[in-house]
Symmetry: C2
Subunit: 133 residues, 2 copies
């Protein structure tokens, strides 16, 4: 059971995120990065404009939101729809690929949110037992 061949049970994929050089690592970091995950989560509710998104993702700066959206658009997870009106209007929405990612991400997010009381308990316990030494 310690032979490397069976480490990943059903895993003959060409991309292995555990390998340092694998491009999937980069995409995973866009997706799970500080703002990437929240942005995808926000867009899962529906298409949003730049400043709507900015308000929804509490705490993100213009620069980081812009940067995050570019990365997600480049990875094919988000579609940018610009209307050359005045004032300009730009809508962002998930692609089919982005929805697949967002669903799994939201499953994780909601699970964590749902277990926060346990996490907070664990935290208190850890700090009490180890904090005093």
């Amino acid at each position: 059971m310690d032979t490397t061949q069976e480490r990943m049970e059903a895993q003959d994929l060409p991309y292995d995120v555990f390998a340092k050089a694998c491009p999937s690592r980069g995409t995973l970091e866009h997706v799970t990065g500080r703002w990437g995950g929240l942005t995808l989560g926000a867009l899962y509710e529906g298409s949003l404009r730049f400043n709507e998104l900015r308000r929804r993702v509490d705490g993100v700066s213009e620069k980081m939101l812009s940067q995050t959206l570019h990365a997600l658009e480049r990875d094919g997870l988000v579609h940018r729809e610009a209307q050359p009106t005045n004032p300009p209007r730009v809508d962002y929405e998930l692609t089919a690929l982005g929805r697949g990612v967002a669903e799994r991400l939201l499953s994780l997010i909601h699970f964590v949110e749902g277990q926060m009381d346990d996490v907070l308990d664990a935290r208190r316990h850890y700090d009490e037992t180890r904090g005093t030494l």
Copy 2:
């Protein structure tokens, strides 16, 4: 449909990761952070010792692995089992909570790995159309 009340469909949870001050945001960042996700993923296969983990999570430094493990242990996702032998032996394994998180995380990771060809295509297309201007 733009009333804030129905933004999150079945979401009456006390913790909202979209809010800047919510503690769930911190935990989510531990979980999805650069090394947190890979560490949980590695441990999902089974209990591992420090240096085994270090080898499995390609590219992580001693310092970051140590730091990551402390954060995950504090959040109650990882259990640390130290045997006071000589030489010392320490095993890390997921808690029940950690397994729940890891499952959802791996679902995301495997999905991303499986769609990397599409991502790479999107990337190439993005760079071709926009890169030349």
